[in-house]
Symmetry: D3
């Protein structure tokens, strides 16, 4: 399959058995978002990096895992006849090891869908972290338990009466980037990258090669070798 | 008085003697913005939390006090015949213990109405902190003296020739939330909550009860009990 | 020359020999952005401070140096026949001691023109820092080597296929403030100030005087003297 | 009931029989949004006017009717097992004479929930118009059949796969203003006003009186009488 | 080729001979942006419609043609040694019948790259219109000569010293939608659609069929048949 | 005086007798905003055109006159002890022939400082129009009496309790452009230009020459002469 055709795979929702062959531990130890972004660029997948508005709560924590998605809708009243947290609870109680909660709030800044209690529950289940374009609250407690959260802002507002989950494990978008259930989600101090599951093996392989080039480049630059000469030799910047 | 009617009380400017019966020390030690936000929500006061654009200068400082307001206006020249800081000086020199300077700049990002010198003057008078939707400057010095400031951004721009106080101790708005003189202002790492003075006693009482629920919930979640079961038991998320 | 006329000098590109008589070490040790902003204000140069959207990567690093500019353009494809980093490499390889790389991305948030490798190369050449309205990446490594970067956001996106330098050492704008090659650029925790080269001597001189006033003011305020009295004596706020 | 207490009534969802005693024809013929806004202001209901981002498709059409609401949620895929228009169809097929479709898209600009076909269906049922913060399409045809639409922008994007109705006849918000089912919605060239149902009788009565003052004021001004004198006499500006 | 794979074709820059078999006259007479948007949606090409910020200068003019692109860069000074309009002139002088000038200004609002003189020159050469995310000026004269312009705003600012073309006939983006040279550009009162050249034949064919369904739907709705019944029969909304 | 020095003159507030020698009738009949913008550019005054957010209420009306300024401040309550319209009334009652009311609302969208009644009063006094970055209301009536208004949006909100004039006849800014009392304000369908009073004679003279070049250019282009040839001959684009 030609690399150019990969762009369409992000929306692949076919029933084919998911390829979970990538070793997440290797990704976490050896790779980082910048090199993954460059690698995805190199195969024409240029829209996989979230923008500057999504930031880590703890810049020293790395998050690597697979997307478990929830789609929020803005609401404007409390319906006394329903549990507003129903689907949210269902998702969190079903979290598996290395899952990343991906909570799409459609860039709304009205709600904080994530906080300390959900962090605690998710961490107990081995989840790898949480990614949301909504707000996060209880930030000092979350930092203390070292649970990785990448968020669209900080604020104390509960979702009750303001937003509710209308679907889980469906395709969503965070900051304009599509995220499908099962996609590889990698976050560090520089931001967050979504690696579509269908191309992850190839991307990880190329990225690992690229990392060693960057190390050689850095060493050369430290020795004061001109940038032009270093770039010509290693092709990395 | 029915809780539904509270919404209108935010604008209560009647001359009735203010009820300052709440113990601010208890609020500072036992409560936090998230639980206050939930409590205000529960009585229909859903617009009391400032949004993500107002951030603490020092995330480890908590601010609890009563609003002393100043209303800024954008200006575009220096009037040589007046002291541009006149009302600002009047307000700061009149600050009492536990007062919070609330400087409304109408979300302007042209001025930094607050800096190290005013922090020093306010701290000497026992003020509890400063809340502004404008900018703050001299941030390293302010952090050093541990004076709590919640702000709309950081920048070195003096207000002279750009903005001036046109009224003090009047109703203002910060990030869309009304603040009346005397309102309870609570800020921590998660953000800032305005508790209208007329309802503060009731709110504090309910919030204190809610805190103990949350503690029990957290402990249950840490033991790995399913979220659904915990939520059903404690009703908190 | 009357001070009022200085406003027009920002665009002075005349061939007159640059006046580099200011001692950058003195600026770095004794001055800071807030006092420079006030001083520039006092001579009518009121648009020299960058706004709140430009932030330091490391709030404890100070940057003082002279602008070496690069102008980026957004692009939407990779041209296989050209080295996309050509002018960027030329600029960085030519950096002199105390130069500040000023990378104008026209407030674009699509690219991170700066990262660890360029920081390393610039630092080896004695550059004073980097100022950009674009993104920065590899932030943990940059912080580690203590290279000052003032940026418009954080993100992992390489410029390749998204932006390229179309000119170096030309006038640019960062956050609405004009920057000419050779202008004095000063950045600290409070933000960034551009001092036009033609007025820098005068500005530095006045700013140094202002600093000692502020110190006396602070001391008076700490002793609890009323703000009004202190302001009347020292004229500083 | 004191007028000050009205502010809380916007959220009144009690089962009390709706008071539909106001004659909509009189409102349409004699009143307009500016005078209604002033009247609502005068009783402390200062947040009932939509802002400048909501504009009429046809500036010469007036819309007066009662809110029938639909709440949209952003979605990011098509679910092949459901009719995406289900609730939307239910609402439109149930429209009564003088109903106004109020479609809350949470300020999303991804979808055009309204177009020519729905306008045709609504007009056949006697509906008074449509108000949405989303987009509208088929604008030339809608203008031709003279169906009033007040919208958040123009664009050809169908809602299928981008948004769907998750609830009808529930409280919503348009441009920050709460709209409850049954509220009076008035739109003209100047914008849109939401009159909470519980206060509409009083508001209409006061507004009608205010209109005649304005007419006298206008006539006086046309004769060249100084504004100050006219204002002192009629108290209107 | 499966329709799902089309998404990647937008970036197809291969040297294969362009398929210009579509009859533009038919598109102009029978199709419109709403039906094209729906048709593109139906094959998974969901990002081909420009958003609400791009508006027609004359809502009664339709534009159908092929993209001739120019990429602008923001600049901040006039270079006395070059003709700032060089590439712009080259593009306009080379316009062929049915070409659409697509001027990408990267959403900049600093320049009006298009005005009356260029409209006159383009119209003489038979060009179909102009699409830009920059500003347009001389709007009354352009409307008079009935030259279709779709723009990002209106303003009198010349590009000289503010922006210049850095490349022509290259891939660009307008309002987030990729436009390749030769792509079909269709604009009307509802907005603008970009049909990638590689899929245009199929899209036009399906769209023409969809149009007749819509006509039948409209007629049925006018007769008062319930929306649900009409939707079930024609599947169009 | 060298043209480069003009930039600083915008802030000239000296008491020297104003030079009102320009014939406003000539400006209105022969010039327009695009040619004035180009002329101001040519002498280095590149920040005199308002941006796309300020639009005419009636695109067929031209406004030429001298600025009479009012500076608004956002407020958040009604002070029962003062006439909120006091300074506004003073300004309007003092309007002279050819005056343009320039109402600076600091880009606030909370108030409509201008409406039909003030338009009527201003028109009676011979005022040339109104320019505001706030909202305007009663737009259909204002269009009917053909009073030129250039505004920042349309909305029914009265200023009472939301904003008030704090100074008249002082320097202000509209959309980032400084306006001093007495400056020449020119508005037409393309936008608004501020010509500083101190340079108006020179600007008008050069602009009149430029207009005849443009006419010759247009005629040449209509005859199909290549743009390059025409530009080389007339130097206008």
């Amino acid at each position: 399959m030609p690399l150019d055709a990969w762009a369409s795979l992000g929306n692949n929702l076919s029933g084919a058995a998911p390829v979970k062959s990538v070793d997440l531990k290797v990704v976490k130890e050896k790779l980082y978002t910048a090199v993954l972004s460059d690698t995805l660029d190199s195969v024409g997948l240029t829209r996989q990096a979230l923008g500057r508005s999504i930031r880590p709560l703890s810049e020293d924590l790395v998050m690597v895992g697979r997307a478990r998605t929830a789609l929020y809708a803005d609401i404007y009243h409390v319906n006394p006849n329903e549990n507003p947290y129903d689907l949210e609870i269902e998702l969190v109680d079903d979290l598996k090891h290395d899952d990343v909660c991906v909570l799409c709030c459609n860039r709304s800044n009205r709600i904080a869908p994530w906080g300390e209690l959900l962090s605690t529950a998710a961490q107990v289940r081995g989840a790898a972290g949480c990614l949301t374009d909504g707000l996060v609250r209880d930030i000092r407690s979350i930092r203390e338990i070292k649970f990785p959260v990448f968020h669209g802002g900080i604020g104390p507002l509960d979702s009750k009466g303001r937003g509710k989950v209308i679907a889980i494990d469906v395709p969503v978008e965070i900051d304009g980037v599509g995220v499908n259930p099962g996609d590889l989600v990698v976050g560090d101090a520089d931001g967050v990258i979504i690696v579509p599951q269908s191309v992850e093996e190839e991307i990880i392989k190329v990225a690992l090669e690229k990392v060693s080039s960057e190390n050689r480049t850095r060493n050369a630059l430290r020795r004061g070798i001109p940038l032009r000469q270093v770039f010509e030799e290693f092709g990395v910047l």
